[in-house]
Symmetry: C2
Subunit: 324 residues, 2 copies
């Protein structure tokens, strides 16, 4: 079996690949570039993304292993048509949940704004006692809606527990047990949007979730905070711009976007100049990029490959039709 | 009794003062400017700071009520010499603890850095898969030292609980019960500095705490994160600059400072250009400035004045010798 890795050149991968090589000396492990020719006669691929053209030319590929959860950067339809399996890993929930909490505390806490002002010598706080609007907003006791109550949302609810928030989860199936820190579950999106002071979007991008927030329900977000660590396009691009620019939202913390660089070029994260607006904290789709998570992503991916090599079974299969 | 208020002109104070006026129609409540002449024949003052010259000229002042905990912006020795009582309020612990958590997540999470880079179109995360050093650091399971385990530190330990950290508290008296989320208490500062990955400074400024971190122990902070929401001068000013500039610390989140504006002038927070260094999140002494806290500070201060007017007792006295 030939296994081609197009992954980071770092300690975690280098050590992990050395280890699996010595565990399976009869197989062929090699490090390759993104969209490399080497994928064409490989049996297994490990990659963080892949172009259609690369996939088209592969002749023997049985499975692609992704060292994290998000798979929208793969041509899912082409993968399904070629009968290739896609396997992802879900180690990242704790880190994405931590990032969601961090973004919300940063936005409510006006962290970037206060930092930038103090760099200029402008004090919003302490001694500006007679100024208006120097206050930040506490997350304490707020009404929270977690839109997408999967592993990440469940972990976020756990992190929120000491804040004494009233937490509502949104998911399609509501007949499940309440996770720790979640007070109620609804399948009614409008109810969840109306309820909350702070809305956390943690949805995968599927045909059901694309633009789930759009012009028809944006009025429900008036005066609220929006955090998105799921997928950018679950919020309509123009609607998000209007929500922020027109001060419908009190603030937004956005980690997931509409435009991404493929190579190293400079690129703004939306066709609209969201990055120039003041009441926002933007973040380069880095919710999974915790240092501590790297190790876990590598370990879990190599474990799944080992399982395949030992048993022929591919763990953690993506439902290519559902898209997650 | 004449009571002079030098406080913010906002809904909380305006409504609160109307209420206490109607509760005590026989007394004289008035709003005055900072360091106003009106303090000279007042019996009670409500203020956020006061100059020595103002205090010197007062003839009848019995007590000053401060609507928060910090009292270093008052001439404590002069207050003691004139036999005036100082009463502060401690409602702010939950908010300062929340700010400490926010600053640490912001610094470990590289929130400001990533925000600034993405504004320029530079992506640190997601698709820069082959770049070095794009990772942020999780707070999860870290070793934490809380230097100053008072109300704020105890609340911080509670907020940290879901992160599964190993929490060491530093305080002088170690024979107290362990607060929720604190695993151990020490009176040995060096032990606390050596132990931690993340050090939270939450000390008042007293003769015992001034420059408690200095050139003699700064080597113990190598590779760690430092958060200060207590008082700036508990860390020697030049030592802090060196700790950050020379990359001894991995990062710092600082809310409390060495230089403050008295009027509205622009002023940098230290004589050293700390604000220009990259691995830091700076914050304008705003840990108590949560919107939700304002209401509580006003309520508690007016309650203490009511107690005095009803009983002659002044609650929540500051020990002017200890300075907190």
């Amino acid at each position: 079996v030939k296994i081609a890795f197009s992954v980071k050149n770092n300690e975690f991968w280098n050590e992990g690949i050395e280890k699996i090589k010595s565990d399976f000396p009869m197989h062929d492990f090699l490090m390759v570039k993104e969209n490399s020719d080497e994928f064409y006669d490989s049996d297994l691929a490990v990659a963080v993304r892949m172009k259609s053209e690369t996939l088209e030319k592969t002749s023997k590929l049985k499975a692609i292993f992704v060292p994290f959860a998000g798979i929208n950067q793969f041509p899912l339809r082409d993968i399904a048509e070629k009968g290739i399996k896609l396997s992802n890993t879900h180690w990242n929930a704790p880190y994405v949940a931590e990032r969601a909490l961090t973004l919300s505390l940063s936005v409510l806490g006006r962290v970037v704004e206060f930092h930038d002002k103090l760099k200029q010598g402008v004090w919003g706080g302490f001694l500006a006692q007679y100024e208006e609007n120097i206050n930040w907003i506490s997350l304490r006791k707020k009404k929270i809606s977690i839109i997408g109550l999967g592993n990440i949302g469940i972990e976020l609810a756990r992190l929120l527990k000491p804040f004494g928030c009233d937490v509502l989860g949104f998911k399609r199936k509501t007949d499940t047990e309440l996770p720790e820190g979640v007070n109620r579950i609804t399948a009614d999106l409008n109810e969840a949007l109306e309820f909350a002071d702070v809305i956390y979007m943690i949805l995968p991008l599927t045909k059901n979730t694309r633009s789930i927030i759009n012009e028809s329900n944006k009025h429900l977000l008036k005066g609220k905070f929006l955090i998105n660590v799921g997928r950018g396009k679950t919020v309509d691009e123009d609607t998000l711009f209007s929500l922020i620019k027109d001060n419908i939202l009190k603030g937004a913390g956005i980690d997931v976007w509409y435009s991404y660089p493929f190579e190293k070029e400079l690129i703004h994260p939306s066709k609209n100049p969201i990055h120039l607006l003041p009441n926002i904290v933007i973040s380069p789709h880095c919710a999974s990029d915790a240092y501590e998570g790297e190790a876990e992503g590598v370990r879990k991916t190599l474990e799944n490959i080992s399982i395949y090599l030992n048993t022929g079974e591919i763990p953690d299969l993506v439902d290519l039709n559902e898209g997650y």
